[in-house]
């Protein structure tokens, strides 16, 4: 079906199943350890071999010699794959660096060899017997030192790298009140709990690969490109994925090596990455330096707003587009944004949860706080004064729906914002300085075409098949809810099969488009199935009702089970194709974050006390899993604000803290009470199911709200994330 005009009243509006808080339908599998993740897909297979990846020990240079003789003789070793034995591989456009090193080395821990052995222990041990002689060459590892050589890319995520409206320079220099500040955000690792893993099986010339991947169709295409083989001969399966956050959008060395090794050894081969290897091998969110300039009139109306962003990537490919929110979020006649990128010889920089918008709002929303203070305004009032119903840089383009003001006001009421400490550093409870901070949350809500197949089986059950993935987002459940709503059956009667490339191609999980897009695809397929059912039942599909597992009109009612029994299995498949509604309207999700922190007055340790988010994201398909998405993203944003930092050693050229002890992510003890309020709503311009993305909204702005709360607590403005105690301690009050 084409979706090119706003959705009208449709069966989803009944909300008998959809929008009801619903425990995950795959929950019983996950809590019993019976959900099968990629590395576990060798269950029942015979003769499985283990692969262990060897990574480069240097960041940039060439392999002069790679001696595998000792490793080859090691007990249990079946094969060793290197660039010398593999030959030439294709490079998928979605990979910034090559998956396989040799003889050139592009970054530290670039995959260089795979040892295949009878057991994991043997493969790991033999991997350490490979001796490599490198020729090291000069690399660039420092963003700061490469600012001058940075370039403006053609495009960044979501638009051009340079935008200009009106006369920014003139308006900024003539503004009554101005702010010009520079900030830094650190590099972040996705650090999903399940390391990338693959099990590959060859039968004749057909490859089946179980891998942990967010986008099945991208995986399919990119494996085909990498291995120079036809897509038809590949099947990718990924029913359960242990987290992704953007880190599993692109094919990695585990999949490439598993496939090649299985072909070479004629045995199923399983390969996973070790945790210490992941940080320098996989993509990461690039560190940024960002400059924000805001000019206002005396009353606080923004007259000029500018945002510049510098980041680095291998081959200067992917910019961490921190300027994104500034293009749209606030009104102002004169504006500019620019993203520049430096060529750094680190592991590739790429998308991580809310690319651009997450680090961008960590900065913009602190700048807004600073500006409000300069103006002597409440930061909420300042934001509301500059609120807009049309896109900031393009007044001709309205938002499909925007209730930012309500998010801020509702949050303020719930959180007790009125009672916040008015003067920074004035509130103390025992050893703790207490502060509150606020920020706006803003994340675009794009959509992607998405297909599904829906079956009514002979037994009257409903089966939904799509290559959509569930990376923890709750796809299984909302897809099941959608089908149940559309066909008028209880959720327990619906089986959902995800992640298989044999199923119709979905939007996949990324860009917070998964929920709205994939359920719309299921909606489309269900509409078709309703027509088929109505046809065989002899009812008019336009007027027939699907309730109580029956199809009925004013005079007749037939149980679906009876129809299926009589007419055999009925199947329908369809794709939702999104037209240009998103060109006419800017579809975005909005919210507000409220944070209360305590800062230890002696040590400067920052601890969260309360977190509240108010969100407006269209129809909430499942309040239970949507809330979980919000709190999870808020926690990830708290990590970015307070502890997460991929530290670059500029001599060696690598991320030094490359394990989960060195790269700290929040633990239970870091996360206090979290409250999430969804503004009840539907956005008919977003998608047939009237939902917008919510999975990445929660990370946007939360870091800034924390930074603003720390400032409110201490009076110390830290402009370089993460906000650790060493950046605060010298400005805290004397102890005695």
């Amino acid at each position: 079906m084409k979706f090119d005009k706003p959705a009208e009243t449709n069966p989803i509006d009944n909300e008998k199943v959809v929008s009801q808080p619903t425990p995950r339908i795959e929950g019983p599998l996950k809590v019993t350890g019976t959900a099968t993740y990629a590395y576990e897909q060798d269950k029942g297979l015979k003769n499985v071999a283990y692969g262990y990846i060897v990574g480069s020990a240097i960041a940039k240079g060439t392999i002069e010699n790679i001696d595998i003789s000792k490793a080859q003789r090691a007990p249990g070793v079946l094969n060793i794959l290197t660039y010398k034995t593999i030959g030439s591989l294709g490079k998928a456009g979605r990979n910034n660096a090559h998956l396989l090193a040799g003889p050139n080395i592009e970054h530290y821990h670039q995959a260089m060899a795979l040892v295949v052995a009878e057991t994991f222990e043997q493969a790991r041990s033999a991997a350490n017997l490979i001796h490599v002689k490198y020729k090291r060459s000069h690399g660039q590892y420092s963003l700061v030192k490469n600012i001058d050589s940075s370039v403006r890319p053609e495009r960044i995520t979501g638009g051009p790298a340079y935008t200009s409206v009106g006369d920014f320079d003139g308006a900024f220099s003539n503004a009554d009140v101005t702010l010009d500040q520079t900030y830094g955000t650190s590099g972040h690792a996705h650090a999903m709990m399940e390391p990338p893993a693959s099990v590959a099986i060859w039968e004749d010339n057909k490859l089946t690969i179980y891998t942990s991947h967010q986008m099945i169709n991208w995986a399919l295409k990119d494996i085909a490109t990498t291995l120079n083989m036809p897509i038809e001969n590949i099947r990718v399966n990924s029913p359960f994925i242990g987290g992704g956050f953007g880190g599993k959008l692109f094919v990695r060395a585990d999949a490439m090596f598993a496939a090649l090794a299985a072909r070479a050894t004629k045995r199923p081969v399983k390969v996973t990455m070790t945790r210490p290897f992941m940080f320098n091998n996989m993509p990461h969110r690039a560190a940024t330096i960002q400059r924000v300039r805001i000019g206002t009139d005396k009353a606080g109306k923004i007259t000029a707003i500018g945002h510049e962003n510098w980041s680095g990537d291998i081959n200067a490919k992917k910019s961490e587009a921190g300027v994104r929110p500034t293009r749209m979020l606030y009104a102002g006649a004169n504006r500019m944004t620019e993203a520049r990128i430096a060529n750094l010889n680190l592991a590739e920089a790429n998308a991580m949860r809310a690319p651009g918008e997450a680090p961008g709002s960590m900065v913009l929303e602190v700048a807004m706080d600073e500006m409000a203070e300069t103006l002597g305004m409440d930061p909420i009032d300042f934001r509301i004064l500059n609120d807009t119903q049309v896109v900031g840089e393009n007044p001709d383009k309205p938002f499909s729906q925007r209730r930012l003001k309500e998010c801020l006001q509702r949050g303020a009421r719930e959180f007790g914002w009125r009672d916040r400490p008015k003067t920074p550093g004035e509130t103390r409870e025992g050893d703790w300085l207490i502060g509150m901070g606020v920020a706006a949350a803003f994340r675009n809500a794009p959509v992607q075409n998405s297909a599904a197949r829906v079956k009514l089986t002979r037994g009257g059950a409903v089966i939904v098949e799509t290559d959509m993935t569930d990376i923890g987002t709750g796809s299984y459940t909302i897809i099941g809810q959608t089908a149940a709503e559309m066909l008028g059956v209880p959720l327990s009667q619906v089986t959902v099969r995800l992640g298989d490339s044999d199923s119709p191609v979905s939007a996949g999980s990324g860009g917070q488009w998964g929920a709205a897009s994939s359920t719309s695809g299921v909606y489309a397929a269900c509409l078709k199935l309703r027509e088929k059912i109505a046809e065989v039942a002899g009812l008019d599909p336009k007027t027939a009702d699907f309730v109580d597992a029956s199809i009925s009109d004013a005079s007749n009612s037939y149980p679906l089970r009876d129809i299926a029994k009589e007419h055999g299995e009925l199947t329908a498949e369809d794709t939702v194709e999104f037209g240009d509604l998103q060109k006419q309207f800017q579809v975005s999700s909005f919210g507000s974050h409220f944070i209360e922190v305590g800062v230890h007055v002696v040590t400067g340790e920052v601890r969260l006390r309360r977190m509240l988010a108010v969100a407006e994201a269209g129809r909430i398909l499942n309040p239970t899993s949507a809330r979980n998405q919000m709190i999870g993203a808020m926690t990830m944003g708290a990590g970015a604000a307070l502890m997460e930092d991929l530290v670059v050693d500029e001599k060696v050229g690598f991320f030094v803290n490359h394990d989960l002890a060195g790269y700290e992510v929040p633990v239970h003890a870091d996360i206090p009470q979290q409250q999430v309020i969804f503004l009840e709503d539907e956005d008919p311009k977003s998608s047939p199911v009237k939902a917008k993305g919510v999975g990445e909204l929660g990370i946007c702005g939360v870091g800034a709200a924390i930074a603003n709360a720390v400032y409110n607590a201490t009076g110390v403005r830290v402009r370089q994330y993460p906000i650790t105690l060493d950046k605060l301690i010298h400005q805290l009050p004397d102890v005695v």
Partner: protein, 319 residues
């Protein structure tokens, strides 16, 4: 992980005999650090002697009125022991501030003392590290050293000892009981157990080849306010940036030991004499030889402020 032979000793005597007959041997108890390092081939023993079946898992009272803690007593059991909780609170607090519940269940008293540094360059075998490969250089000196030592460092190594428990043991002036292959037992004061890096950062303690830690002896309880304050970025499950173990008696001078500052739990009894003049005099004396880097100089301020606050709070409590 290199292949090794696994031996399960039936007694301490048996363990020492097996170890004495082999080369490149490690005793294994909890294994929470040793196996971690073996997977990375930072530790590469050819023989593991498991001492789980020895009788070193008891806490008993000593004739001197203190406690003898068997080397196999787990961190959880030690922290939860009634006597420790009542009379050696600093030790209980230190243990509970360390690692996670799972790790504390497995980690042992002896093994905790033998933990190796968490320096990221030590943990990456592609990087130069004098502790791992003597003479290869120290990557941390000019690298990322935010959590490295500021006291007792050398130009070969600025690593810290990561234990919390050992810091409490140091402030308590505990003694480490070790047994040699010939059955001789000797006591090593905590002060002398761990070493400074000097020119030999790969040597971390004064155990001799073939010796095994059998127990840690605590002196009789020391009255006073017991404090263990661990300062870290993450609220739990993280190594200390700085930790402070303190015992502040009702009268007389306080005792302080520190984690996160040196290659060993740090205590400076000479500096403690300055406590009579106040917190600042103490920390000035304590830190006068501090050698900091750009990333870790905050530790000086952090120690000064934390000590001052601990002393001030103890004063308040007395008043």
């Amino acid at each position: 992980m290199r292949p090794f032979n696994y031996h399960r000793a039936s007694s301490v005597k048996d363990a020492l005999a097996i170890a004495g007959a082999k080369s490149n041997v490690k005793f294994i108890a909890g294994g929470t650090n040793l196996l971690d390092l073996m997977k990375l081939e930072i530790e590469t023993p050819m023989h593991l002697v498991d001492i789980a079946d020895t009788d070193l898992d008891e806490i008993t009272t000593t004739s001197a009125g203190g406690l003898r803690i068997g080397a196999l007593v787990s961190n959880t059991d030690l922290a939860a022991n009634k006597t420790i909780r009542q009379h050696y609170q600093v030790l209980s607090r230190a243990l509970l501030a360390g690692a996670s519940g799972q790790l504390r269940n497995k980690a042992t008293t002896g093994g905790n003392l033998l933990q190796r540094t968490r320096c990221p360059y030590f943990y990456d075998t592609n990087q130069a590290c004098n502790k791992r490969v003597p003479g290869s250089g120290c990557s941390a000196l000019e690298g990322f050293n935010r959590n490295h030592a500021i006291l007792g460092t050398s130009d070969r190594c600025i690593a810290t000892h990561p234990s919390d428990m050992a810091v409490a043991m140091r402030v308590l002036d505990a003694q480490v009981e070790v047994k040699a292959a010939n059955g001789d037992t000797r006591m090593i004061a905590m002060e002398n157990f761990h070493t400074l890096p000097g020119d030999t950062p790969h040597i971390e303690n004064t155990l001799k080849a073939g010796e095994m830690i059998t127990a840690v002896a605590l002196p009789p309880p020391i009255d006073g306010v017991h404090v263990y304050q661990k300062i870290r970025d993450r609220a739990s499950y993280a190594f200390a940036l700085v930790s402070v173990a303190a015992i502040i008696p009702k009268s007389g001078t306080a005792q302080f030991a520190f984690g996160g500052l040196a290659h060993k739990p740090w205590r400076d009894k000479t500096a403690e004499k300055e406590l009579l003049k106040g917190s600042k005099a103490f920390t000035d004396a304590l830190l006068k030889t501090a050698s900091t880097t750009e990333h870790n100089k905050f530790k000086v301020t952090l120690v000064e402020r934390t000590v001052a606050a601990i002393l001030a709070q103890a004063e308040e409590a007395k008043a």
